[in-house]
């Protein structure tokens, strides 16, 4: 049987988390960390296309972008920024406690991170529904009173594309956190083996950093360019 072959190969491993094709946990950790970093680079390139489009259209229509950005809710955006930065702190603490093997604190901080992430998404839903009521959904439902409505529409599709893609990453991150909480509760992580927590932390910080760029570009641009 093929199955028994595979299990026979696996039996050589010492730590239950060590995959058969690695020599030791150190090599496995090195590989997964590098893999995560490269994945994050692909994410930068993925968002990069939208950032490029943003740069071009903003340099073409600076006044319209400034005007349109005043339609975004800077208070909700600001609160979300604080929420997200705090969640990065709790994530970093969760990674620390996984390294020292403090299981209860690890679970606590993972849960806190998840709650903050969900808070962010909740506020985002409120913001999106406001935009819908104001008729600012490009293409589908767009009524804009200011000058140059078509160029403002470009601002709003960039807003929805960029924050929407970001929110999608937050949802994926929330899913990952749920898995981490479950496995942490089952006691799977130890000081010898905690890469999943560490790598998810990298991902979470990356998603935060994207927001750190999105917030000024979308919400604060109106204060930079004097209309």
């Amino acid at each position: 049987m093929a199955q028994s072959e595979v299990t026979a190969q696996r039996a050589v491993a010492h730590h239950p988390a060590l995959a058969h094709h690695f020599e030791n946990l150190e090599q496995q950790r090195e590989a997964s960390t590098l893999g995560m970093w490269i994945f994050l680079i692909t994410e930068i390139m993925f968002f990069g296309g939208l950032f490029l489009a943003y740069s071009i259209y903003r340099s073409w229509y600076p006044q319209v972008f400034a005007e349109a950005s005043h339609h975004l809710d800077i208070v909700l955006g600001g609160v979300n920024t604080v929420v997200l930065i705090t969640s990065s702190l709790t994530m970093a603490l969760a990674v620390y406690h996984s390294q020292v093997g403090n299981q209860r604190k690890l679970i606590l901080f993972l849960v806190l991170t998840l709650l903050l992430g969900l808070t962010f998404l909740g506020i985002k839903v409120v913001e999106y529904s406001h935009k819908f009521h104001d008729g600012l959904i490009p293409g589908i439902h767009f009524r804009y009173d200011g000058p140059n409505p078509q160029q403002a529409q470009i601002f709003f599709w960039l807003y929805f594309a960029m924050t929407g893609l970001h929110a999608l990453h937050m949802i994926v991150g929330a899913g990952i956190l749920s898995f981490l909480i479950y496995f942490a509760w089952r006691g799977k992580y130890s000081p010898e083996y905690h890469s999943p927590v560490e790598l998810s932390g990298l991902y979470w910080h990356f998603v935060d950093i994207v927001w750190i760029f999105l917030f000024p570009l979308l919400y604060l641009v109106g204060f930079h360019v004097k209309g």
């Binding site: 995959a19 020599e23 590989a31 692909t42």
Partner: protein
């Protein structure tokens, strides 16, 4: 029968476990984590979509036999060349060498048991198949006629075909390319055997490292671009629509930012294959190893800085055009380094003209023509004359078919004994290589002349004076088809009837030849320790086959 093996120890009598006989069930293949089996799965998928792309090409060439549009309608013709391009570029050429031979060989060449992320590797195959089936569905449901480049405003506002479904198929398949690249980079960094330093890596591995960088950095940009096209088509918010303040040229920038480097995704692995073959069949180490290694990286880096040369006639600033032209010329330097170093390797080597070597030599000649005509097209003035003509078509077919496909066939023959454990009939293989070379040149050389005389690409009908050249081209395509069907027949035949292959049928140097053919599931009986440089030819009696752990002590003392 048991008396026949009386002199051998009891253990050696039972058949060796190889990656092929480790399991026979369908499940053992579809859920395998073995990089070699995943390579074979890719081989099946890639061959199938190559066949589909080839059928489209056949229909195109048949239509162009006469100046009138008599075989298919203009609309159908548009779909034929679009689907030919999409199938060949995204579902054959891009995955071909990396996903088949890279997957199979890269871990063995560096002395690893597998790639760093075997599950991601299997996932990448499923993603590839999903994307390819999605695109195939779109093609059979009604097809797509935008050209493989999806230029707006036609693709976003006017085309009345399955643009979104096809784009989604390419979008999905892109992630398989990203995962393969990611896996290779991590594997090369972290999984090398003891003693396998960077400068001992075979050039095939260096070439795949450079390819992977492009896959990882470029493909996400294509993904977001195709998403934007889909968004524009469904919602119509003016991303690429000048009437709404958008810019269609932005699409071209984003598209070519990936799709020009994608040309190097196709040709860099081919260059890696050629380096292996040239060294083996010249029985000399590659001349200027480090230059060849770093020229791969240089091509990958320069490749990201030349996308504007597709847009000389698309309202791009003439100053930007001058810079893009200059950098495009600069790509010729690392490419020439490779070609000169291969010929310098062959110089005074003891060359044997086995079929892989014939393909490799064909590659050098055809890539030379393809590359040099690329310089014609990178020249600002001349490009205006030959832009969107058959000159461009001939140029990129010389690089993609004359380059990548020939290297793919060369790799297929070179590593076939390793992958299957069988030898193929060498006489037939040499004959087929010759047929491919003749057929290819007869197909595409007349297209240079056609283009120079002004025949535009993607046209369904043409003026009668072009007919002779088109007939020559179609005749060449028929010969090329024979040259491609022949290997399919004798390679399949060899699976059952071919002689059993030894571990190292070519007296080559790489680690993949130091393990048995076909390799065991874990690639080596024990972890190899590398004490030699790449392409270090040694007397046959000194080369060691890495056997079970107990053997080496005995063999070393002898």
């Amino acid at each position: 029968m048991s008396t026949a093996v009386i002199h051998t120890p009891a253990e050696a009598a039972k058949p060796r476990t190889t990656y092929l006989n480790a399991g026979y069930t369908l499940k053992s293949w579809l859920l395998t984590l073995d990089h070699k089996r995943i390579g074979i799965l890719y081989l099946l998928g890639v061959s199938f979509f190559f066949l589909i792309g080839g059928i489209y090409a056949t229909l195109i060439r048949l239509e162009l036999l006469t100046p009138q549009g008599d075989l298919v309608s203009a609309q159908t013709y548009n779909k034929l060349f679009t689907q030919h391009g999409i199938m060949m570029v995204f579902f054959f050429l891009i995955p071909s060498i990396p996903a088949v031979f890279g997957n199979f060989l890269l871990p063995i060449m560096i002395g690893a048991k597998d790639v760093a992320f075997p599950r991601l590797n299997l996932l990448s195959w499923y993603i590839y198949m999903t994307g390819a089936l999605f695109a195939s569905y779109a093609m059979f449901a009604g097809g797509v006629d935008t050209g493989w480049t999806f230029y707006p405003p036609y693709s976003t506002n006017y085309a009345n075909t399955y643009v979104i479904a096809t784009g989604l198929g390419i979008f999905i398949a892109g992630f398989s390319s990203i995962l393969t690249g990611l896996n290779f980079i991590v594997t090369i960094h972290t999984m090398r055997a003891p003693g396998m330093t960077w400068y001992r890596l075979p050039l095939f591995v260096w070439a795949h490292y450079a390819t992977s960088l492009i896959q990882v950095l470029g493909t996400p940009v294509l993904a977001i671009t195709l998403l934007l096209v889909a968004l524009e088509r469904t919602v119509g918010i003016g991303i690429f629509d000048p009437r709404l303040g958008g810019d269609p040229v932005l699409f071209q920038h984003l598209f070519w930012f990936y799709s020009h480097p994608a040309v190097y995704i196709m040709v860099l692995p081919a260059m890696g294959v050629v380096s292996e073959i040239i060294a083996t069949f010249s029985r000399k180490p590659i001349f200027g190893y480090k230059f060849v290694a770093f020229s791969s990286l240089a091509i990958a880096v320069f490749g990201f800085l030349v996308w504007g040369h597709h847009m000389f006639t698309s309202s791009q600033s003439v100053y930007a055009g001058m810079i893009f032209s200059l950098i495009s010329y600069a790509v010729a330097i690392p490419s020439a380094i490779k070609v000169f170093n291969w010929t310098a390797t062959m110089y005074r080597g003891s060359i044997s003209y086995d079929s892989p070597m014939l393909y490799a030599m064909g590659f050098i000649g055809l890539f030379l023509i393809g590359g040099l005509t690329g310089l014609f097209l990178a020249a600002l003035g001349l490009d205006v004359h030959v832009h969107d003509t058959y000159f461009v078509v001939a140029h990129f077919h010389y690089v993609m078919v004359g380059g990548s496909l020939l290297a793919y066939l060369g790799a297929m023959h070179y590593w076939w004994p390793k992958m299957t454990g069988r030898l193929y009939p060498e006489g037939w293989a040499r004959f087929a290589a010759l047929v491919v070379f003749v057929g290819f040149n007869l197909t595409f050389f007349p297209q240079f002349i056609l283009g120079y005389l002004g025949m535009p690409r993607r046209y369904h009908t043409y003026v009668p004076e072009f007919q002779l050249l088109h007939v020559l081209s179609t005749a060449g395509a028929s010969i090329l088809a024979v040259g491609l069907i022949l290997p399919a027949i004798y390679l399949l035949w060899s699976l059952k009837r071919g002689p059993i292959a030894p571990a190292d049928p070519w007296m080559a140097t790489g680690l993949e030849w130091r393990t048995s053919s076909p390799p065991p599931p874990e690639n080596f009986e024990r972890t190899p320790v590398v004490t030699w440089n790449a392409y270090e030819f040694r007397p046959q009696e000194e080369t060691e086959i890495i056997g079970p752990p107990s053997e080496p002590d005995v063999s070393k003392r002898n």
